[in-house]
Symmetry: C2
Subunit: 232 residues, 2 copies
């Protein structure tokens, strides 16, 4: 059936790397086609339009992503919540920082956060939501609270924020902010795990009464009680 001769696959491969590195909007179809020595019209011929090419790449990578998620969950299976969170962070950070072929989806997600495309919805549904669900589940067990608890969700966001920031955008590099990055993903993951587990260990140790006694502000309380303690 004379399937994809060659050009089509070349376009997929080259475009995937470009999209992962700079995002959908900052890559031109001419750049994609020129990169593999093809004509400008090649993208439209093989994929309909630029978004069609992007869609195929994203959907292809989502399968890999789901496998990664499985790997992260399996890595902690049987262990305690502590070890599960560590495993999650390690796998996540490693995939985000190592530009190996096949883990472009994390970088693509970074770009989607910066400059969304119509593909964001499916990425959220198939990647983000399962991830946050698992993360909240682990942290919930860690804190001894239900996984939809407000404190649990905020802790999950704290962990997630740190992981996300591991991938320094070009702008973050020019600013000299962000984590120390000498290419050692494991060391970075270890810091984040250490930091986060320490944070939550201190949280689970404190009772509500203790925390409210400290300053009157309590993260997990409803919005009402916070009005009074607005200013330090």
């Amino acid at each position: 059936m004379t399937v994809a001769p060659l050009t089509r696959d070349q376009l997929l491969g080259h475009a995937a790397e470009l999209f992962a590195e700079r995002g959908f909007h900052k890559v031109t179809v001419r750049e994609i086609s020129d990169g593999v020595g093809a004509n400008v019209a090649a993208v439209n011929y093989h994929f309909g339009d630029k978004l069609g090419l992007y869609r195929e790449i994203v959907e292809g990578n989502i399968a890999l992503m789901e496998e990664t998620m499985q790997k992260a969950m399996d890595a902690g299976r049987g262990g305690d919540a502590d070890g599960q969170l560590r495993a999650f962070i390690e796998v996540f950070v490693e995939r985000l920082l190592t530009p190996r072929d096949g883990n472009q989806i994390q970088r693509l997600m970074m770009r989607e956060m910066e400059n969304p495309t119509p593909m964001l919805d499916v990425i959220v549904e198939r990647v983000m939501e399962p991830r946050m669900r698992y993360l909240c589940d682990v942290i919930g067990r860690l804190l001894g609270r239900p996984s939809d608890d407000r404190v649990v969700r905020n802790c999950a966001a704290s962990v997630h924020a740190q992981c996300i920031m591991c991938k320094r955008t070009p702008a973050l590099v020019r600013m000299n902010i962000g984590f120390d990055d000498d290419g050692d993903a494991a060391a970075l993951a270890d810091h984040i795990a250490e930091f986060s587990l320490g944070a939550m260990a201190s949280m689970v140790g404190k009772t509500m009464a203790q925390r409210e006694a400290r300053g009157g502000r309590e993260v997990g309380s409803a919005k009402s009680s916070l009005k009074a303690a607005a200013s330090a």
Copy 2:
């Protein structure tokens, strides 16, 4: 001396809000000029080009930013490092989340991180670097380590990452990830402070030997100074 009649100031005001909300690249000059009932050429007449308008807005806001930084530092003056970090987080988060006029610089910086412009350099120099310097100073005292210590810088990055993520981009909102945001900046700041202080309290308690015994990987291992600095 027949200063700016009106149009010029209107352009500045309207453009500032648009830029803060969506970033330099995602705002068109027609949108700016139409918004105040001016002609398309108004921007070029009064500011040379689009970037000139942006530059004026950024430079104007940087002064306010430096004042904010001063406020954050003053808020913790005299207190201990713990209180200083709390004050810093509170001021930062509040300015980031509250769309009040005059604290657009934080939102502008978010946009610069997503899509840099030529103004990024001056923003880094006058805003980011002083901020990270102060943050590292506070955390250094908190951990009993020099402020250029690797662990200190990573902790600063962890704190900063959480603060940054407070401002949910449109994409982050569509994903249902991120911190609980019911508009209560104080509650969010409190979570981040609680989380981070707990994390670092547990770090300062552990000796290097203990941490290395746990898993073998040590965050601060690569650089020289930390090898010997076993005890905290």
